[in-house]
Subunit: 248 residues, 2 copies
Amino acid sequence: MLKEERHQVILNEVRIHNKVLLTDIAELVKVSPDTVRRDIKELHDANKLKRVHGGAISLGFNHYNYANREIYSLEKKSRIAEKAVSLLKDGQVVLLSGGTTNLEIARLIPPYLKITCFTPSLPIAVQLLPKPNIEIIFIGGKINKDSQITIGGGPIGVLSELKADICFLGVNSIHPSDGVTEFDWEIVQVKKAMINASKKVIVPSIFEKINSVQRYKICDVGSIDLLITELDKNDPLLKPYRKNLALL
Amino acid sequence: MLKEERHQVILNEVRIHNKVLLTDIAELVKVSPDTVRRDIKELHDANKLKRVHGGAISLGFNHYNYANREIYSLEKKSRIAEKAVSLLKDGQVVLLSGGTTNLEIARLIPPYLKITCFTPSLPIAVQLLPKPNIEIIFIGGKINKDSQITIGGGPIGVLSELKADICFLGVNSIHPSDGVTEFDWEIVQVKKAMINASKKVIVPSIFEKINSVQRYKICDVGSIDLLITELDKNDPLLKPYRKNLALL
DNA sequence: GAAAATCTTGCAATGTTTTGCAATATTTTT
DNA sequence: AAAAATATTGCAAAACATTGCAAGATTTTC
């Protein structure tokens, strides 16, 4: 493995976790800790990260910048997004709905992954823009200002001609017997179309926030292939879902 | 094997794997490592890849910073954008191509104006998002990362079904006899479609920067209804345009 | 078309960088 | 303060890079 590659790996880990342990990298890329130490020293001198005892941390990140509540759900989102990103493989066609958890997934997609992303979400497209290996297809149409995704006939038409490998479906509410629900009718239509446009449907969501029922139904839990939450897959809170749904 | 062929092989490997080991190439194409080293050096100098100890890696890999678009001509852009915005009226359907001058127009559109904006440009859509009275229709498709607009069949199809009242066409080059030209073929196709999709075509551009000719032709100056520059409409520099073109 | 000039390629000698290891020092944790 | 973890330093082997050179191929010039 080239030195430059190791540097990329280290920076990527720092980008994702805001920190990195020297020993973890050594194991990950299979070089001696000494080498990783030298790498980190170089990156530090180049002002790409901050070298600290035991590893390195991200430059800008400062916990004080965030309110306590937010940082809490941000960490949960990151954990969910990490699980989600681990499912991606080179060459896949990925469909990303809107929402902040999906935005976090977009952020964590490693820059070396070669995938095609379809999305109707403006913030997600912007987030993906700087990643050189990702082909972005924006699903056009009328933009809904609240959700910042496109809605209506345009996107639904495009989706009807697509069969993506995997869809990350952002969700407002989910319930073991009432299924996935939403309060905006137009968004429901788009999400239904997304489910039809994918071989696999994955719902990445903060469990705390979604265990509820809204006005309009998108689908039954049976239509979902995998539910990713911040909880451990064996958490008792998830018991009602376990019979119909794979968990991660 | 010709040198050029080897170069193609190397670039292809870099494209696929994001990196390449000098020794691998040497073995693959059966030349000495020295030759490969010289090849990589050439490609590095031509800015096609990044030469590193042991081989080469893809450019762009760590291109994490957005293109640092020039900011210095912002004042000129603002003057042009002000003139452009003064043409807008309630109820119009407006088509905005990409480019920094159009982005400035989007910024200056007053929030009380009730118009519908079609655009294939990600930054322009983002700029318009907070304006409550503007309906935004994003023209979807594959995103070109340089220009940050969508290109290809998708947008061209959408445009073929549209007749906007007014189109602000961002332009790289314009010339009194050679017309409007561009260096990216795919962008040419989109811009041609935009011209066809509008009743009026308006080109807002910094005159200093556009008085030139590029590879591919978009249209003659006769197809343009109005040219807006930072100059006074009676400026002698604009004389060659005055017979075929309205000015502002 | 032949001679000259230029380019390409592989080789060898020499120089540089990278890497892991071991001994020692420093910091962190208990 | 002792123990554990991490850092520093110097070193040697291996990998890689550089340079100059010469033989052959290709292009240019006459």
